[in-house]
């Protein structure tokens, strides 16, 4: 590993800068990295396809599970290329066994699910620590940015996949067979589902170089910061610029200083007290090499500050306890009102969910008792002896009233028999309800009644008293009884 031959400047970077560097590396070497990924992935894809061609829903998850193995080769190639060794693809493929982690199974089993794979893979692959050493190494190097990198890359994969799907579904020219989106997502054995799987695999492969390179750059960034690679490079550069001490000078220096070193006993590091050590460190840090002085001019307000009013004294006539009590009451009232409001809103939402268009915003029906008297308001006395009361009305010259009594008695009877007759029910609804309940003889009688009622109520005709009398003469017994029972219930 030659730090002087790196593909990028070696300097401490923030995690986001490192990810940015990784993406730049992936853009630069996209084709070789992509080829490396496919070189590892294609055989596995084909082999699994042989076994899972009847289960496309399992094929893609299987390939997804093997992603750590597919990413090993691009990482291996990148780790060489970054330090100046560009391996041809053929050589890289030949070194695939070497590129894989020495213990692959942990990567595919208990280490498979995790957000920091992009970062832990370089440690595992390039340094190959094991067990506790690996955990300690990851703890030292660890950075939370690797998790964000995974989340970002997953989203980008999804966007690429969805974009491809929608593009095929909506942007294909007319005449070409379009993609059925529903089948692509749900119909497992359909061609669109396979196309969706292949698009997902393509999206994964496109994102893989970026994911691997960004993780590798994060790894390099952490090592540069912790191991001061930049300082080491600076020292190397400084030494090479001065030409370096020649051997003769070094020998002379050794001859002069050697006896001194041998004669003077070494001063133990603990000889200085902490206070002395701090002074020495401060003195060193005060030297120009470790800092600089800069002069800045700023505007400072030099006028007199206005006096800010102090806290207002509470009015003497309103005791503090009373204010606190009122505030507490208001607070609880507001909380109570909020709770009631929330409950009311919840109930409204539930009602809306059950019947999105059931209720009118305001009352739209006519006021009861005026144009549309409620039938249940018929005096019970009348209904108990329906025929007698109707005949009494007819004899008294109120033929229309007698007819209305009969019709409303019919409705009461039908409701009493369990017929569902809402206020919106019309005459035909009554007939339909009667068809299910009444006997044929009753039904004929009801038809005549309804017809007579319609001609009186809507055709502005005088009541045919003969017809009404005939209706009264043939009033079915169950109707009168039923009307009485219905009224008693109402």
């Amino acid at each position: 590993m030659d730090l002087s031959c790196t593909a990028a400047t070696t300097r401490p970077r923030t995690p986001m800068e490192s990810i940015d560097l990784g993406f730049a590396l992936a853009r630069t070497w996209f084709l070789p990295l992509w080829a490396c990924w496919w070189a590892a992935a294609a055989p596995v894809a084909l082999v699994t396809l042989v076994f899972l061609n009847q289960h496309p829903g399992l094929w893609l998850p299987a390939l997804w599970w093997f992603k750590p193995a597919f990413e090993a080769l691009p990482l291996y190639w990148l780790s060489r290329a970054f330090f100046g060794e560009r391996l041809p693809l053929r050589v890289a493929v030949r070194r695939l066994p070497r590129a894989l982690p020495r213990r692959l199974w942990p990567q595919l089993l208990w280490r498979r699910i995790g957000l920091t794979r992009s970062f832990s893979m370089p440690v595992t692959l390039l340094e190959a620590p094991r067990g506790a050493a690996r955990r300690e190494r990851l703890r030292v190097l660890g950075t939370g940015a690797a998790g964000w990198l995974t989340i970002i890359c997953v989203h980008l994969e999804s966007v690429l996949w969805l974009g491809g799907l929608l593009g095929l579904a909506f942007l294909l020219p007319e005449g070409l067979p379009g993609l059925d989106l529903e089948a692509a997502l749900l119909a497992e054995h359909s061609a669109p589902y396979w196309i969706a799987n292949l698009l997902m695999l393509l999206a994964i492969s496109v994102m893989a170089p970026f994911y691997v390179a960004a993780g590798f750059a994060l790894y390099l960034g952490r090592r540069t910061r912790l191991e001061a690679w930049d300082l080491e490079l600076e020292f190397r550069r400084a030494r090479s610029a001065r030409g370096g001490p020649n051997r003769r000078s070094a020998l002379a220096l050794a001859l002069v200083l050697g006896p001194c070193v041998l004669v003077t006993p070494p001063e133990p590091a603990q000889a200085r007290t902490p206070a002395e050590a701090r002074e020495a460190i401060d003195a060193v840090l005060a030297e120009p090499d470790f800092g600089s002085t800069r002069e800045e001019r700023v505007w400072v307000f030099v006028g007199e500050n206005e006096e800010t009013p102090g806290p207002r004294e509470p009015d003497a006539w309103l005791p503090t306890e009373l204010i606190t009590g009122i505030a507490t009451v208001i607070k609880w009232a507001v909380l109570l009102a909020a709770a009631v409001l929330a409950t009311w809103l919840g109930l409204r939402i539930l009602q809306e969910y059950q019947h999105p268009f059931r209720r009118p915003r305001s009352a739209t029906t006519a006021p009861k008792g005026e144009a549309n008297p409620d039938t249940t308001k018929i005096p019970s006395l009348v209904a108990r002896d329906l025929a007698a009361r109707a005949r009494h009305s007819l004899d008294a010259g109120d033929a229309r009233g007698a007819l209305a009594l009969l019709y409303q008695g019919l409705i009461i009877r039908l409701r009493g028999d369990g017929a569902r007759l809402p206020d919106s029910a019309t005459e035909s609804d009554c007939l339909a309800a009667a068809t299910d309940i009444a006997s044929q003889a009753e039904l004929d009688w009801i038809r005549r009644l309804v017809r007579l009622w319609q001609t009186v109520a809507y055709a502005h005709r005088d009541v045919d008293t003969a017809a009404l009398g005939a209706l009264l003469d043939t009033l079915p017994q169950p109707l009168a009884v039923g009307a009485a029972v219905g009224t008693a219930r109402g």
Binding site: P360, T364, Q408, T455, A457, Y458
Partner: protein, 328 residues
């Protein structure tokens, strides 16, 4: 003792019979669409225009041609296309070089029965060319108002707006149609009969209305319409129709309700329905029977319900069940 039905007035009976004959003739040509045929015939009685919606190949044009054949009169057809101009419908003034004067060249709108085929394939400007003719029974060309000879009936067909290359009709135009009918898929038996009929010796799939006999003429149509207009409508029925229409303005799920013209249309259509039923008066049942067809194109469904897949008919059905019927 069975009470005899009250005798119908002679003109009422004649009108009912005439409408029944028209309905029968149209049903001979259009199989499996009895509901739509009935709505179209009642619109004819109520002197209202009809908008028929359905997928291509459902027999919309056949229905209108069959009706035109059954009622006689001057029939014209306009195939609406995206490049159709308003003057192609109403007519225009042309300069005669010989007489050095402008002459009015009347468009196809000057007829008794106008078929506007696929009306929503034309842009709104051309669709609006029918507005004046439909509402005021007249056309203005070069500032000159020309009265259309009664009866004038517009029967327009349209494909659902989900189809490509269509323009939704403007609200003002929709309001001019008395009713809007849907042509739905016929039953299997009816569809088989249609196929048999076309396959039996016909060349191509031409629409055959030769079996339809003219059973009415323009004078007869006017007589029927006059009879329908003379039917008794009780105040309670008027109030019921009005309450239905007013309910659409406040009903949950409807963003836009129907206007006053809708209430008038409900009563007119109910008269047509009553006449078809042989009644000389209108009942709440007549109102309710026509309410869906009259109101469905005059209300605007709320966005939420539209997204959830509801249609105006669903909301209106609930509305009909929620508005109290007269029972005095």
């Amino acid at each position: 003792m069975q009470q005899p039905e009250p005798r119908l007035p002679a003109d009422l009976e004649a009108a009912r019979d005439a409408l029944a004959r028209v309905e029968m003739q149209v049903n001979r040509a259009v199989l499996g669409q009895r509901q739509v045929v009935r709505e179209v015939v009642l619109a004819l009685a109520a002197a209202g225009h009809v908008l028929i919606e359905g997928l291509p190949g459902m027999g919309k044009t056949l229905l209108v041609r069959a009706l035109a054949a059954a009622v006689g009169g001057h029939y014209a057809r306009v195939q609406f296309t995206p490049d159709l101009m308003p003057s192609d419908v109403t007519g225009h003034a042309i300069f005669d070089m010989k007489s050095e004067q402008f002459h009015i060249r009347r468009g196809p709108v000057f007829c008794n029965v106008l078929l506007g085929d696929e009306i929503n394939r034309a842009p709104a400007k051309t669709q609006a060319a029918l507005l004046e003719a439909m509402q005021e029974q007249q056309v203005t060309i070069e500032g000159q108002s020309l009265v259309l000879a009664p009866p004038f009936l517009v029967l327009a067909t349209q494909n659902p707006i989900e189809q490509e290359g269509t323009y939704p009709l403007p609200a003002a135009q929709l309001d001019r149609f008395l009713i809007k009918s849907f042509m739905r898929y016929p039953s299997r038996e009816d569809e088989l009969s249609v196929i048999r009929q076309v396959a039996a010796g016909s060349v191509g799939d031409a629409l055959d209305v030769s079996a339809v006999e003219p059973v009415l003429d323009p004078r007869g149509i006017l007589a029927v319409q006059r009879t329908a207009a003379g039917l008794t409508v009780d105040d309670a029925v008027l109030d019921y129709a009005l309450r239905l229409v007013r309910a659409t303005r406040d009903w949950q799920g409807l963003d836009g309700g129907a206007g006053t013209r809708a209430a008038i249309a409900v009563v007119r259509a109910a008269r047509g329905h009553a006449l078809l039923a042989g009644n000389d008066f209108v009942t709440p049942d007549d109102v309710r029977a026509v309410a869906l067809a009259v109101l469905r194109h005059r209300v605007r469904l709320g966005a939420e319900l539209e997204i959830e897949g509801y249609r105006a008919d669903d909301v209106l059905t609930e509305l009909l069940a929620g508005v109290e019927a007269p029972r005095n």
